[in-house]
């Protein structure tokens, strides 16, 4: 909900509320998860795919997707990979430390449009974090969907996120999970090869499927190509885009992507809406 002059109890969307680190743990060498208790005057909820702006005081504010369960939104979970100044400072936070939180912002994965269809969730690297809420939703409401397929690619077996959950989903008879890594030794017994190699063999009906993809842009580019080759149309594909952001309200223009703003029109786009921009390197 957005604050208005007539509703002073709701925080202004530019004003962060305080989030206390309740738990923190490392997922991989460079990726960590924070669970936050947030001081809010109203109950919090989010839709899978949305993000928060997290402010490490004195360092900076960055967009991070919510990676927790939408059915338990009071536990605010964020999984972040350390890549630069703010993420490094965030990694150093301890239990009890405080962050600024604004959100949730942005568009969501099309969980409703996917009902009665085969759902193919395709994640690359840290891209599993923004997709995890929709996976929780698909599993919790399994009867609403036809086949549910997760294809997940990581650099090495050590880079696989949420290993316990991925293993649990693999054990469900009605969820197909295929994980692949780029590099491995013999200790790894799974697939080796880039994520695109999983697509031709994945069990879904291209005519009726809906695909949700999240990962680095280059990974999404090749994944879309392979889905097209399999007969999946652009209007059946959703991708999550990343751009540098500041206000997250569609005001400042930092995250402009062609005619749209990633913070409010995205981050989740139906692919046909951005297809003409997708292969353009610099916009």
């Amino acid at each position: 909900m957005i604050a208005t002059a007539s509703n002073p109890r709701v925080a202004h969307p530019m004003t962060p509320v305080l989030g206390h680190v309740r738990q923190r743990w490392m997922e991989t060498d460079d990726t960590f998860t924070l669970e936050l208790d947030v001081e809010r005057s109203a109950p919090f909820s989010f839709r899978p795919g949305q993000f928060n702006m997290l402010y490490v005081f004195g360092v900076g504010e960055i967009p991070i997707s919510i990676s927790g369960n939408p059915d338990t939104p009071e536990v605010l979970t964020h999984t972040t990979r350390e890549v630069g100044i703010v993420t490094r400072a965030m990694r150093q936070l301890e239990v009890g430390d405080v962050l600024g939180v604004r959100g949730p912002f942005g568009s969501a994965w099309p969980a409703e449009a996917a009902e009665e269809r085969d759902v193919v969730v395709i994640a690359g690297g840290i891209g599993l974090a923004p997709l995890r809420p929709v996976l929780y939703h698909l599993v919790a409401h399994r009867e609403r969907y036809r086949r549910v397929v997760l294809l997940y690619g990581a650099r090495t077996p050590e880079d696989i996120l949420y290993q316990d959950e991925v293993r649990e989903w693999s054990s469900y008879l009605d969820v197909e999970v295929h994980v692949t890594v780029d590099r491995a030794t013999r200790r790894w017994h799974g697939n080796v090869g880039v994520i695109t190699t999983l697509i031709p063999r994945a069990p879904f009906d291209p005519k009726n499927a809906l695909a949700m993809i999240c990962g680095p842009e280059v990974m999404m580019h090749f994944t879309v190509q392979e889905l097209h080759r399999r007969g999946v149309r652009s209007d059946q594909i959703y991708v999550s885009m990343e751009r540098n952001m500041q206000c997250a309200l569609g005001l400042c223009g930092h995250c402009q992507y062609g005619p749209s703003f990633v913070c409010k029109d995205g981050p989740v786009y139906r692919f046909d809406a951005i297809e003409p921009l997708f292969s353009v390197r610099e916009l």
Binding site: R155, T185, R186, H189, V218
Partner: protein
């Protein structure tokens, strides 16, 4: 229930998709069923490339020795082809292939297939077209793997 002939079952393998039935009949004369136990090798780097395989069930790892450890460069599963070094001289394998799970496969005698390509250039051309597609797909996959797409 009618059991499928070897040539009929070849028609269901993606690699042979679109190949005229007469050629499937022709090449099936070079094939027989084989199976490998878990951890058994299908082929060894440097050894003579005298066969290639179409995997029916199971998973195979293509491996190279890198220093003192073994790197898995790719895994190959159901419906996929292992090996093309039998195509070009000196007909030796460039990597090891090891069964990660129990594997059943069709093994094609390379000398037999090469001879059929020589005897019938139209068949040879068809066969090379299928193989070239496979090689291009693998090359693309390797290129994507090299650019580290999850970074």
């Amino acid at each position: 229930m009618k059991t499928m002939t070897l040539a009929e079952s070849l028609a269901t393998v993606p690699f042979f998709e679109g190949m005229p039935q007469k050629y499937l009949d022709f090449i099936s004369g070079c094939a027989h069923n084989v199976s490998f136990k878990k951890s058994e090798f299908l082929l060894f780097e440097g050894k003579s490339a005298d066969a290639f395989y179409v995997i029916r069930h199971g998973q195979v790892a293509l491996e190279v020795e890198a220093g003192n450890k073994t790197a898995v460069i790719q895994t190959v599963g159901e419906g996929q082809v292992v090996g093309w070094s039998w195509l070009v001289p000196p007909y030796t394998w460039h990597y090891d292939a090891r069964a990660v799970t129990p594997v059943s496969a069709l093994s094609f005698n390379a000398v037999c297939v090469r001879q059929k390509c020589e005897d019938d250039p139209a068949f040879g051309y068809e066969m090379f077209q299928h193989l070239t597609q496979l090689i291009v797909q693998r090359l693309m996959a390797t290129r994507i793997q090299l650019i580290d797409v999850y970074q």
